[in-house]
Amino acid sequence: MLIETAVRQLRESVGEQFFRTDQEALIAHSYDGTPMLQALPDGVIYPGSTEQVSEIMQIASSHRIPVITRGSGSNLCGGTVPLQGGIVMVMHRMNKIIEVDMENLTAAVQPGVITGQFITHVEELGLFYPPDPSSMKISTIGGNIAECSGGLRGLKYGTTKDYVLGLTAVLADGSVLRTGGKLTKDVAGYDLTKLLVGSEGTLAIITEAVLKLIPQPKTKKTMVAMYKDIYGAARTVSKIIKNQIIPATLEILDNPTIRVVDDFAKIGLPLDMAAILIIEQDGEPEVVERDIEQIQLICREEQADRIEVAADRKEAEKLLTARRSAFTALARLRPTTILEDATVPRSKIADMILRTNAIAKKYNVNIATFGHAGDGNLHPTATTDARDHEEVHRVEAAFAEIFAAAIELGGTITGEHGVGVVKAPYLEWKVGEAGVEVMRGIKSAFDPLNILNPDKMFAKETKKRVVMQRG
């Protein structure tokens, strides 16, 4: 519960209507995209400017109120669930594209801008902002930065971190920090910009960002290759890169996913295939032609059973449908869908998929895998039913083993969804004890009172996965 004075001060800082403590507001901010997690905040606040955020943080730190920053709440790691109560700070009102600088090819935006709208805006100006999380229709730039989101174009173009040049952020005590700027080169001190990217709202609140834009690629070409042997698909991925071709998109779907997708989208995928690869290249027309030719050659060498190249954009869209509908198709199977994100070096993709399938079998749960083959970022996705506690337990156990397998293969516990509360118990597996200690030190340098998104990133104990039943 918030004390009276805090409530009064918060109301004064943003105005009556932008601070709410009614049950409707509390319930609607007690969850995010993560299945099976829910906790009620004590209040919900909608700041309109950096100054207001700063004022709110001064009030919050003087009363030691936890603050959970929220974009659209589309994250899948429990990142915005207010585990200790406190106030959820919704960034939706700060949604302006402040400028697009055509000379420096940068954009300045507020954190509440919806990613998809931002992308459309810059594309209309003939520019390109590559990070494209599949949730871009709904996610915010602030959320993308805080999670360091990636997407289908990560292999060639990198992820959010490669496009953030500067930030304005409010620290826990309300002071305003500015990092970076429109500069390409800047080595004055530690790189605080990069540190804040991916910090999941635990270090500071991002209130403005300067983003890098690049010229739009001239053309695009899309193709699909289907394999009876999953190692053939995996070798194709490695060989493409070894031949120094970096496709814009290089996605993989495993057999369980192919079955579900075809059943849903009826696009005539062969059900006996072990895996399919969806490949897209963009750039100068001659280069695109040449690369796609060469990729086809490699696919054939690796015994691809069938290869299809889209003749035009319309056909390309049809091919991409398979990848896009993977999540949708899986989500319709059972009431609860748990979309995870384990990442391995791309040479280990086939091993990882096969191990995932074996683990799913061992625990008798349904897990299908698809993901970004080019960068090794896989999404093993379980379809289950949250009401069946016993089964959910088995799913949890299976995922623990999947993460362990990823680490064993030289990978990591999350490639783009973040740590939040869901992966917190596994963080140490990846970064080691020393890593966690350094991170804790950084956390307390930024937020000594531990009021910024508490309980995220750092688990009370390692390994055991936290699941709160009430979602």
Binding site: A25, A28, T34, I114, K137, I138, A331
Partner: protein
């Protein structure tokens, strides 16, 4: 699932920007109410009532969450413990209990309305300002209502109309209640269009209101009673298709199987019924011989006339019939179809939403007209009487900078069909 993909599709979320006014938020509130985590207080009910029921959230949802059914059940539960504010209560009583259930009564009203409209009384009433005493929204609606008629489609055409040329299928027209009174011409035109496209058209007299307005307000019992009558009536005819020309009605008709799923007696025939329901445009495009459409001689202008289209939410999101009207509009010689941006967004009409939620409906309409204006179209076509009235109101309230007329797509096509003969 709480991915939030439904948020950008939702008009009340776009207008307010707050989570509780989104589908994901509303579902969370419903769930909290069911779980006992919150009491369904006035605020809860207001939030549920703010939902347009446009169901744009459904196609946007990757997990196929049946939002429409959730909100229907919630409203049904709310209705059981309802305490409405006075004007709403009065409107509802009038609309639900006394007008819609019986077609006869409706016709009477149509007659009375047309008398009223024609008579000098109307002028007198309007000049004395009695209309101003009525809730503002009602008087606005009164102003845009077309001439009502006591002669419905059956009175004008009888109960059967043959196909032109070799018959392709037997179809039955669902004439609707409002449609048949204030848009009886559209019903007549629908029959003639169907006939020209090669269908034998039956118009069963025993049919009643589809029940949508009841269902959307949580009065499920009444909705089921009406459905039973309609199912019995159409079942006797053994037709291939049941044609709707109003998206709002059609959407409930295609879901009669869901509505009646607990009724053992009607379950199978409800499935029979639901599987045959189709929108007039979809039927003509997919199963008919598309007639030639050209501009009527009288209004030939230099160059093409521009036509745009406002989707009926229920036709689009529930009946999945958003392609066919566009295909038809592109068939018209001398006309150019211009897509209006956000045509797939609810216009704010949504049953009696514009009466009970005037403020939100007003915001939505204002945005809609901004987009309409940008198309520079001279015709705004729709597929649902509610949307048609709303677009007429919109043109009146926020006049585009060029002449624009709202019309039902069937009327528009019919006019061109006659012109081509």
């Amino acid at each position: 699932m709480r991915c939030g993909f439904c948020l950008p599709a939702c008009p009340t979320f776009s207008e307010t920007g707050v989570e509780p006014a989104s589908p994901r938020g509303r579902i969370a509130l419903m769930k909290a109410a069911v779980d006992g985590l919150m009491v369904p207080d006035q605020q809860f009910q207001d939030q549920m009532n703010l939902c347009l029921g446009c169901r744009a959230c459904e196609p946007a949802c990757p997990a196929d969450v049946k939002y429409g059914q959730l909100i229907e059940q919630t409203k049904e539960a709310m209705e059981e413990h309802a305490t409405h504010s006075l004007p709403v209560k009065a409107i509802r009583r009038m609309v639900f209990k006394h007008i819609f259930p019986k077609h006869g009564r409706l016709k009477l009203l149509g007659g009375a309305l047309s008398l009223y409209q024609k008579s000098a009384v109307k002028k007198a009433v309007q000049s004395t300002g009695v209309m101003k005493l009525l809730p503002k929204q009602l008087s606005e609606i009164e102003a845009i209502l077309p001439a009502a008629s006591s002669k419905g489609v059956v009175e004008r055409l009888g109960t059967f109309f043959p196909a032109k040329g070799e018959p392709l299928a037997r179809v039955a027209l669902f004439r609707g209640c409002i449609m048949d009174i204030i848009f009886a011409d559209t019903n007549v035109n629908t029959v003639e269009l169907l006939s020209a496209a090669g269908f034998e058209v039956y118009i069963p007299e025993g049919q009643v209101c589809c029940g949508a307005l009841y269902a959307h307000s949580g009065e499920m019992g009444d909705a089921r009673k009406l459905a039973a009558v309609n199912i019995d009536t159409f079942k006797q005819l053994n037709v291939d298709y049941i044609v709707s020309n109003a998206g709002g009605c059609g959407a409930l008709l295609v879901e009669y199987d869901h509505l009646m799923q607990e009724d053992f007696k009607y379950r199978d025939s409800a499935k029979w019924f639901a599987s045959r329901v189709i929108d007039v445009s979809t039927l003509v495009v997919e199963k008919g011989r598309i007639p030639n459409f050209a501009q009527p001689e009288s209004s030939v202008q230099a160059g093409k006339i521009k036509v745009t289209y406002q989707d009926s939410c229920h036709l689009r999101n529930v009946m999945k019939g958003s392609d066919a009207p566009r295909i038809l509009m592109k068939q018209i010689a001398n006309a150019e179809f211009v897509e209006m941006s956000e045509a797939d967004r609810c216009c704010g009409s949504a049953g009696i939403y514009n009466i009970v939620q005037p403020e939100m409906a007003g915001f939505i309409l204002e945005h809609k007209m901004e987009h309409a204006n940008k198309t520079q179209a001279s015709y705004m076509l729709t597929s649902n009487p509610g949307c048609l009235l709303q677009m007429k109101a919109g043109i009146g309230k926020h006049p585009p900078d060029h002449p624009m007329r709202a019309m039902h797509i069937v009327d528009f096509l019919h006019e061109r069909m006659a012109g081509s003969e």
